[in-house]
């Protein structure tokens, strides 16, 4: 591996690289819904659809379940998440390129209940997985957990 350094080449090169990567991040699924009971929704790029097994989850997607509903999904890196009723979670950060050491899974649990099972991201880079909540941040070191966030009324 020879890295020749030409600063005058690097910047436009990087810009060219950034554009397709950014475009990919918007449209390529990072996971899929696998289980649904009752009414659940996935909102991606402003489009809200009724979730069913096979519904794609993208970077930035908002996942919601109704009053007597639940939903389960898997991510590309084999992270598994499932949600109980009245739950809302957004996927804010997702990077999965193990060969380039680019690993990140950042979600926000706004309310409801979550069951989380580690995938490859947490195994390769434990500090890369976080679940933000309105009161505290959960960090994961390769394991399973459940978390509940009570609605702030």
């Amino acid at each position: 591996m020879n890295h020749k350094r030409y600063p005058w080449r690097t910047l436009p090169g990087l810009l060219l690289l950034t554009i397709p990567l950014f475009a990919l991040a918007q449209t390529e699924p990072i996971g899929y819904v696998k289980t649904v009971t009752g009414e659940a929704w996935v909102t991606s790029a402003g489009q809200r659809v009724r979730a069913q097994p096979g519904t794609a989850v993208l970077l930035g997607s908002r996942l919601q379940t109704g009053a007597a509903a639940s939903m389960g999904m898997t991510f590309k890196d084999n992270t598994v998440m499932s949600f109980g009723p009245d739950t809302e979670l957004t996927v804010d950060e997702y990077l999965y390129a193990p060969a380039q050491d680019q690993l990140k899974l950042g979600t926000r649990l706004i309310r409801g209940s979550l069951n989380y099972i580690s995938g490859v991201i947490a195994k390769l880079k434990p500090e890369a997985v976080t679940v933000k909540t309105p009161v505290g941040i959960i960090g994961v070191r390769g394991t399973q957990f459940v978390a509940k966030v009570e609605d702030v009324k």
Binding site: M1, P29, Y32, V33, K34, T35, V36, T37, P53, G54, S70, M71, G72, M73, T74, K76, N78, V80, S82, F83, G84, P85, T87, P98, A99, Q100, S113, L114, N115, I117, S118, G119, A122, P126, T133, P134, V135, G136, I137, I138, G139, V140, R141, G142, T143, Q144, F145, V146, A147, K148, V149, E150
Partner: protein, 202 residues
């Protein structure tokens, strides 16, 4: 007298129940509980908030998300009440299979060829199947050539899976070339275990 003892005993039990009920309700705010992985492994969970940081490293240990109290153990009935629905919605866990190749090309070893029917069977049993097929090489030859070879391997397997009846499944193909070795080796080292395609069923 006996009657009095009984009454006071009853009163004590009632007080205890009230206390326990109080305990239970105060612990049902916003919280996280550490559980074992499905494979039995236990990691840990860290909760950060303005109060500081709490680390959970025992199964069934819980921490409030706002750090308002010391970590405590959670009983099965509370877990069931708060998380029964989320736990029941858990999808089938992903499963990964590794196929190995003869050196230099996209020809499967005899053993790996024989493993294909089992993978197909597992794949067909899944609802809303999505698959990834990732190709790898050992470190023999240049990195660029290995990038292409690993992709060739992955594409060959993806094509076989489609032909064998998985044409409707969502399938992604990737190449990790020689950058993601299963067994670490120096450059230019033949290593059969590194010549592989990993198929993950989700």
């Amino acid at each position: 007298m006996i009657c009095f003892v009984k009454t006071s005993f009853l009163a004590a039990v009632l007080v205890l129940i009230t206390l326990l009920a109080g305990c239970a309700s105060s612990s049902t705010g916003s919280y996280v509980v550490l559980l074992r992985d499905p494979d039995g492994k236990l990691g840990n969970v860290v909760v950060k908030n303005p109060q500081g940081e709490q680390v959970l490293s025992q199964a069934f240990k819980a921490a409030t998300l706002d750090g308002s109290k010391e970590p405590y153990f959670v009983m099965q009935d509370q877990l069931q009440r708060d998380f029964g629905a989320a736990l029941a919605a858990r999808p089938e866990l992903p499963e990964t299979f590794t196929l190995n190749f003869e050196t230099g090309g996209a020809e499967l070893t005899a053993e790996s060829k024989a493993a294909l029917p089992k993978i197909l069977e597992r794949a067909r049993a899944r609802k809303a199947l999505d698959m990834s097929v990732i190709g790898h090489t050992d470190t023999v030859a240049k990195a660029d050539a290995n990038e292409a070879l690993a992709l060739k391997r992955a594409n060959a397997i993806a094509e076989q899976l489609r032909q064998l009846g998985l044409q409707n499944a969502t399938l992604t193909v990737e190449s990790h070339g020689e950058r993601n070795l299963l067994v670490a080796t120096p450059d230019e080292t033949p290593e059969p275990r590194n010549r592989r395609v990993e198929i993950t069923l989700r």
